[in-house]
């Protein structure tokens, strides 16, 4: 095992013999520790014929291991006040929890046991499958979920890994077997695809030492993934979904953007802040909420990822105001795209984003998420120190260029779900 100390946050990165990366950061505000074990096992890697396999694998992952029955895991975690979460995103599957520092060794053992040795008992697969189906039915009645899912479909198409529904479809979930889950785990949750981050009131060395013992002998060959395909050329698409009985309509309006490691990333990040984040929700909220009083929320979010992730604009409005709100979004997108931001907007947003870094890195949970992103994209352990420089270096021309490339209403995908 090799170890290197960082100059930034003071995190320590260790690569275990099997290839698992362990990053530990000691903090002292509370006598607690956050454990975040993340594998590159998100929905993007599931077979196109079984959408939702990553999601269901995550739902059953912590329901029994070779050494621990589901009930034993439940008892050991409940006894310590620990709520374990398994979250499956596009590229990652994360097992996270927070425990008291005094329980750290026991809880880390349980987390690593869950990650390495899940057995996916048939009875648990059946129960969690039924719960997933229930969640799909709930989503079907949720205008916000329907609008966002539809805009992803329009942007990427259902055959693209970003265009599929994360939870899958009723038909795919019904078809999944225990063997599918075992196979998916074996293929994607392996030492060379796993990063363990530990942040909290324990010595940094103890995480790597303990992980080395629990994960000893776990080896796997490196995995070479197909690149995420580029999205199809964009053109204006609109789809309206009727969901009876609802009081409000949800609008999702999106574009595909760039990859996380694209040199334009920081300019896009600043642009998104100006469009739909700064203050109540940037230019969008200023128009739709503040000037027109049409919506409680109007904002944008950007997610450059391994592939060309989306920029998504969201607003919830009275059904009678949908066209007015859509016109306001088109207007703001078009204005920012064609004229670009003002110098003041760029400098304000940069100041805000740089100033918000200490807040992002205040809690154990926040630091753990940050360090996982750093590892996933190879940003370097001193990234927290370099990030202000990256943001500071963004120029007005770069943000204008990003706006001109991205913000074209004639390329937007639009979904409206409501009564």
């Amino acid at each position: 095992m090799t170890t290197a100390a960082a100059r930034g946050l003071s995190a320590v990165r260790t690569v275990l013999d099997g290839g698992t990366v362990v990053i530990a950061q000691e903090t002292s505000l509370t006598p607690a520790v956050t454990i975040n074990a993340t594998a590159m096992a998100g929905g993007a890697y599931e077979p196109a014929t079984l959408p939702g396999l990553g999601f269901l694998t995550g739902r059953v992952l912590d329901r029994g291991t070779r050494q621990r029955a589901a009930e034993t895991i439940a008892e050991e975690l409940d006894d310590r006040g620990v709520a374990l979460r398994v979250a499956t995103a596009r590229h990652t599957m994360s097992v996270t929890c927070t425990c008291l520092a005094e329980d750290f060794r026991d809880v880390l053992d349980i987390v690593l046991d869950i990650v390495r040795y899940p057995v996916f008992p048939e009875v648990e697969v059946a129960k969690r499958r039924a719960e997933s189906l229930n969640a799909l039915r709930q989503d079907h009645d949720n205008p916000a979920v329907r609008a966002v899912e539809t805009v992803f479909e329009l942007l990427y198409g259902t055959s693209h890994p970003y265009g599929r529904r994360a939870k899958g479809t009723e038909s795919s979930v019904e078809r999944m077997t225990r063997d599918d889950l075992l196979g998916y785990h074996a293929a994607r949750v392996r030492p060379t695809l796993l990063t363990l981050v530990v942040v909290g009131d324990v010595p940094a060395s103890s995480a790597a030492d303990q992980a080395a013992v629990v994960l000893e002998g776990w080896k796997s060959a490196p995995v070479s993934d197909e690149p995420v395909p580029p999205p199809a050329p964009a053109h204006r698409q609109e789809r309206t979904l009727t969901i009876p009985g609802k009081s409000q309509a949800d609008i999702a309006y999106g574009f595909t953007t760039i990859r996380r490691l694209d040199p334009r990333y920081y300019a896009y990040f600043v642009l998104n802040n100006i469009l739909g984040q700064f203050g109540l929700g940037g230019r969008l909220a200023e128009n739709i909420r503040e000037r027109q009083g049409m919506a409680y929320y109007a904002y944008s979010a950007i997610d450059p990822s391994v592939g060309e992730g989306p920029l998504l604009i969201r607003a919830g409005v009275d059904p009678d105001n949908v066209q007015r709100a859509l016109a306001a979004i088109d207007q703001e997108v078009s204005a920012l795209g064609s004229a670009g931001p003002t110098p003041e907007e760029v400098s304000q947003s940069k100041e805000y984003l740089i100033g918000s870094i200490p807040r992002m890195l205040e809690t154990n949970d926040g630091i753990a998420s940050f360090l996982q992103t750093v590892e996933q994209f190879g940003l370097g352990l001193d990234y927290d120190r370099r990030l202000p420089g990256h943001l500071e270096a963004v120029t007005l021309d770069e943000v204008r260029a990003a706006a001109a490339e991205l913000l074209r209403p004639d390329r937007a995908a639009v979904a409206i779900a409501g009564p």
């Binding site: 969901i243 609802k246 203050g279 503040e290 009275d318 304000q348």
Partner: protein
């Protein structure tokens, strides 16, 4: 590694200015941040019929500009320091917060001083915010569980103003005027009805000087007397059925809960942990995400037996007796009477047979851990200090750990027997109609 007890022992500085403003300062030097929360002792319980939602609407208006901060400059004041800001209103309280770099402290105090004394309430801003709030209400109505919660709460209370939703009833939101809002603002936004909390990488004496300079000259007013309304005892089960288009059935049960300062509050908190898993007591952060609950009684009875896909309990510390609520999402094909019968069977079992020492000890351990987790930032620490000062008064927050540790299985059994009686419960059903999507 520090002990849980040592970490819980905060050394908060408490001062009351001459104008009556209470000031709580907590030095925390782990990050270069400061969190400022300004709390007002006004919530939806203080609203008269016809004026429901006034407190929440006033909260919205206090982001709209003041005599010395034009509306378009409110934005950017906190962001310049990398800060976040927000506010919320609930039944007992209204609060505003900013967390930013520590060098923002003067700006944050100035903002709170302006908010307390110099709100503009321009008529056009009131009108524009009316529709924003109606949109907020409509958004929450899109969620069947929230809609049911509103109906159950309104059914469980006959007399107490806790019965109406914090956001207000729609007809009141349509009819209230700018002057109604401004009157409400002027009545309650006075220093001697407020508590200011500052937590972060600051020095106590210096903070106090800055607070004196910025907020010390705001004149005191007459603190409005709170109307004391005692909810009469409930004499029998109440039921409400909401039928709407939808795909999923929801079940909610509510019982009258003890106020935070009632001696039964902590046994009830342990009872909730036994039934549905411990959440903690931080309204700002602890009710997001699932609690540790897989060994809890209702999870094992309902979710593990595939009758429900989720179960959640809610007991929040309040100034007067509010509700203990258990919410369930039915699995497809499970009729509401079946789910209700299974939930009530477990509730009756707890009432008749009591709880064990082992499960009480587990619940106490859970709560002890949750009290640590919910104080993991200057924002959360400041929230907890201000919340309990406003809702329960001094002395309650520092004593949380020891209070919960002293709870016995007998106390929990007794509180279950008395509080969860069938005659004192309200049951709500959300029945999806088949014309749903």
């Amino acid at each position: 590694m520090r002990s849980v007890q040592a970490a819980a022992a905060l050394s908060t500085r408490f001062t009351t200015l001459q104008n009556g403003l209470k000031v709580l300062i907590q030095e925390v030097h782990t990050a270069p941040l400061v969190s400022v929360w300004c709390w007002y002792r006004v919530g939806s319980r203080d609203e008269a019929p016809g004026r429901t939602g006034a407190s929440h609407w006033v909260e919205h208006m206090n982001f709209k500009g003041t005599r010395n901060i034009p509306r378009d400059q409110m934005k950017g004041l906190v962001e310049r320091y990398g800060g976040m800001w927000n506010g919320y209103t609930w039944i007992d309280e209204t609060t505003y917060l900013e967390t930013a770099g520590r060098n923002a402290l003067d700006q944050l105090l100035f903002l709170e001083a302006e908010r307390m004394a110099n709100g503009l309430y321009e008529p056009e801003d009131c009108e524009s915010e009316r529709t924003v709030i109606i949109s907020e209400l409509q958004g929450s109505e899109n969620d069947p569980d929230q809609l049911l919660d509103q109906e159950v709460t309104a059914t469980a209370f006959r007399a107490h103003p806790y019965r109406h939703p914090t956001i207000g009833w729609l007809p009141d939101l349509r009819s209230m005027t700018r002057d109604d809002l401004y009157d409400h603002y002027r009545r309650y936004y006075i220093p001697n009805n407020a508590t200011l909390v500052i937590a972060g990488d600051v020095e106590g004496d210096d903070v106090l000087r800055r607070v004196e300079r910025t907020l010390g000259s705001i004149p005191a007013g007459t603190v409005p007397a709170r109307t004391l309304i005692v909810e009469p005892p409930q004499l029998g089960e109440r039921r409400v059925v909401v039928e709407r288009p939808g795909t999923t059935s929801y079940l909610k049960m509510a019982w009258h809960a003890p106020a935070a300062t009632d001696r039964e509050f902590f046994p009830m908190l342990v009872l909730d942990a036994i039934l549905t898993g411990a959440k903690g007591v931080n309204l700002w952060t602890s009710f997001r995400g699932a609690p540790p609950q897989r060994k809890s009684r209702l999870y094992t009875t309902l979710v593990e037996r595939s009758l429900a896909s989720s179960v959640a309990g809610a007991l929040v510390p309040t100034a007067e007796p509010f509700l203990y609520t258990v919410s369930m999402t039915a699995m497809q094909g499970i009729e509401l009477p079946v789910l209700e019968a299974a939930a009530l069977e477990q509730i009756e079992k707890v009432r008749e047979q009591g709880v064990s020492g082992e499960e009480t000890a587990r619940a106490v351990r859970q709560l002890r851990a949750r009290f640590v987790f919910e104080n993991d930032s200057v924002t959360n620490i400041a929230h907890q200090l201000g919340y309990f000062e406003t809702v329960t008064g001094p002395g309650f927050f520092p004593d949380l750990q020891s209070q919960v540790t002293r709870v016995t299985a007998d106390q929990v059994s007794e509180v279950a027997r008395r509080r969860l009686a069938s005659t004192a419960r309200t049951v709500g059903w959300f029945k999806p109609r088949s014309d749903g999507a």
